[in-house]
């Protein structure tokens, strides 16, 4: 998605440790007009694919998921929560997730009420890197007896193996910008798609 790549080149900041800072438009300050273009593009790519619900993970996925839902007949959006400890209540689906960003493990939970057997669930998130968050979301969908329709990702770090692993597992991953390499000296190199 050219508009997005241009924006990342213009406003993204590459920091040491393979961190791409996009807080000015994607995950701290939010450019809602850009999100509308992102939502429109997800709808184009998943046209004809059944989607009865959109699932994301707090916090920064929520904005993108909600704007995107407007292009999918306003299907309900559900966001999974990050719990500090294991959630043992029977009211929730839950799965442990390793966070490389924060160097810890959290329990991802979603209420059983809001994922139904037979649902076709589109996963949405801002970043895909090692894939642990997305695999967690897919695990919650499976626990509900629902189907993953696919995953819509804004920025994929193609030099990490999450996208490869998820695609090998049969998940249709649509990433609007795939970064093959980045450095403070050279900036960001996008995969040609």
């Amino acid at each position: 998605m050219r508009l997005l790549q241009d924006r990342i080149r213009k406003d993204g900041i590459v920091l040491p440790g393979n961190i791409l800072k996009v807080g000015s438009f994607l995950n701290h300050q939010l450019d809602v007009a850009l999100f509308n273009e992102i939502g429109r593009e997800f709808a184009r790519r998943f046209a004809g694919t059944p989607v009865s619900r959109i699932l994301t993970i707090e916090a920064s996925g929520i904005a993108i998921a909600c704007i995107t839902a407007q292009y999918f007949s306003n299907v309900p959006v559900v966001f999974a929560k990050k719990a500090a400890g294991a959630n043992l209540s029977g009211d929730f689906y839950s799965t442990p997730v390793s966070s490389y960003t924060h160097g810890n493990t959290y329990t991802m939970t979603v209420s059983r009420e809001y994922l139904q057997q037979g649902d076709h669930v589109l996963l949405i998130d801002d970043f895909l890197a090692n894939g642990c968050a997305l695999e967690g979301l897919a695990a919650l969908v499976r626990q509900a007896g629902a189907t993953v329709s696919g995953a819509g990702i804004v920025i994929e770090k193609g030099f990490q193996n999450g996208g490869e692993r998820l695609r090998a597992a049969g998940v249709r991953v649509e990433s609007l910008a795939v970064i093959d390499a980045m450095s403070q000296e050279e900036g960001v190199v996008f995969r040609r798609t």
Copy 2:
């Protein structure tokens, strides 16, 4: 807002401890069509009021803020973050906030880059009860040398004193549904506005 009150009556669940569970449409599963009506109503109420930025707090405020921004010429949305400890970095505005819901205190932070001196900031949140979160957001705005244009709240617990205190402090608070009383037996009683 009649549509919202009807929805709260239909799908809200009153739990012990003055908890109103609205996870099926407001803060776990998200009804984006309803959020559009909410955003439209905030725009109607704040018509003529200068708004250059919308500020909310993760996680459930983000969805409402982003949908609402579409009715304010897509002004940037910024969400404050909840940090576990004190954030001493000079890159952030920060303020301590007591959370009655979770029985702890957290530090609310926002990057200095995304609140500017001279900004007219509309605060958006899903709930207003004791007012601590909203007062925290207002404190961040003041630290930035910006102005609070007002606060748009979806559900105000009118039997707690946050709304009263904020209005007494000069903040224009627009709550789309104000609950004067609620109980498991009697359900929810809305203030007539």
